[in-house]
C-alpha cells in the first residue's frame, strides 16, 4: 500500500486525465469542452515531467563546459533532461491546438450565434447538413 502511495505522481496525472475526459464527454458548451481538452493535454505533460524527476538530483549541466578544464562529474545525480525537452514540444503543440480551436469557436459563434453543442447540432440538422 505504501508503495502504491509513493507513486503519487501517477495518481495525480490519472485524476487529471479523468477530469479532462469527463469534461470533454459530458459538457455541452463547446468552450468547456475546449478547456477540458486542455486539462487532458496538461495531464500527459505532467506525467512526462514527473517521470524525469529524481530524489536529490541536480541540473544536468557540466560547469565550466568546453575548454574550461576538467571537472569531476557525477552522472548519477543528474535528473533526466529528455522528458523536459520532449514536453517543451508538447506544450507548443498544446498551444497551437488551443489556438486553432479558439479560432474555430469564433467562426462557429459568428455563424450560429451560440456555443452550445446541442443548439448548433439542432440548427445543422434543420438545414440537413449534419446527420447527428
Amino acid at each position: 500500500m505504501a508503495e502504491l502511495l509513493a507513486k503519487y505522481n501517477y495518481w495525480i496525472y490519472a485524476l487529471l486525465l479523468c477530469v479532462g475526459f469527463y469534461g470533454m464527454m459530458t459538457k455541452g458548451n463547446l468552450m468547456k469542452k475546449l478547456i477540458a481538452m486542455n486539462i487532458f493535454q496538461w495531464a500527459v505533460i505532467f506525467y512526462f515531467i514527473s517521470i524525469g524527476a529524481k530524489k536529490g538530483g541536480t541540473v544536468p549541466i557540466i560547469p565550466g563546459g568546453h575548454g574550461g578544464g576538467h571537472v569531476v562529474v557525477e552522472a548519477t545525480s543528474f535528473i533526466n533532461p529528455l522528458p523536459h525537452v520532449l514536453m517543451l514540444t508538447a506544450i507548443v503543440v498544446g498551444v497551437a491546438t488551443t489556438g486553432i480551436a479558439l479560432a474555430l469557436l469564433i467562426k462557429i459563434y459568428k455563424r450560429w450565434g451560440t456555443l452550445e453543442e446541442e443548439e448548433v447540432l439542432q440548427r445543422l440538422r434543420d438545414r440537413d447538413e449534419v446527420k447527428g
Binding site: H66, L102, A103, I106, K107
Partner: protein, 148 residues
C-alpha cells in the same frame, strides 16, 4: 479592447514595462543552453510585452505599430532562418541540422559551431513564436474582422 481606455496609470506602466520584458526575453533566449529557457519561452515573453501594449492602448493603436503583414512576414522569416541554417549544413556537407559543419564558415571549432548553430535556430524559433502569438491574440481579439 480595440479602443484606448485612456487610463494614464495603465498606459504609463505598460510603456515602462514593455522594454524590460523584451530585454528579459532576450536574456531567456541566450541562457537557454545552461538554464531553463530557449527560443519558445523567449518568444512567449516577447509576445507578452506586445500583448501588454495592446491591452493598455487598444488594438487599433497597436496595429499601427505592428501591422499584420509585417507580423506574418516575420513569422515566415523565422521559419526560413531555421530551415535555412539546416539547409546550409547540408550544403556544407553534413546532414540536416548538423551544426558541426558550420565551423567552416564561422571562426570556431566544430564543438563551438554547434553552440552557435543552436543559438541561430533558437533565434529563428523566437521570432516565429513571437509573431504567431501576437497574431493569434489580435485575431481572437478582433474576431477576425480587421483584415479577415
Amino acid at each position: 479592447m480595440t479602443d484606448r481606455w485612456g487610463d494614464l496609470i495603465i498606459e504609463t506602466v505598460a510603456r515602462l514595462l514593455a522594454p524590460f520584458l523584451q530585454l528579459y526575453s532576450l536574456y531567456v533566449l541566450a541562457h537557454g543552453h545552461s538554464s531553463p529557457g530557449g527560443g519558445f519561452q523567449g518568444g512567449c515573453i516577447f509576445a507578452a510585452s506586445l500583448v501588454l501594449i495592446v491591452l493598455a492602448y487598444g488594438a487599433k493603436e497597436a496595429r499601427k505599430r505592428f501591422p499584420e503583414k509585417v507580423n506574418l512576414a516575420l513569422c515566415a522569416f523565422g521559419v526560413a532562418l531555421y530551415a535555412g541554417i539546416g539547409w546550409l549544413c547540408i550544403f556544407l556537407g553534413g546532414n540536416f541540422l548538423d551544426y558541426g559543419h558550420l565551423s567552416r564558415l564561422l571562426p570556431a571549432d566544430p564543438v563551438m559551431a554547434r553552440y552557435y548553430g543552436m543559438a541561430g535556430i533558437e533565434t529563428g524559433v523566437q521570432i516565429t513564436v513571437m509573431a504567431i502569438m501576437v497574431a493569434i491574440f489580435l485575431e481572437l481579439l478582433t474576431a477576425g474582422e480587421e483584415n479577415g
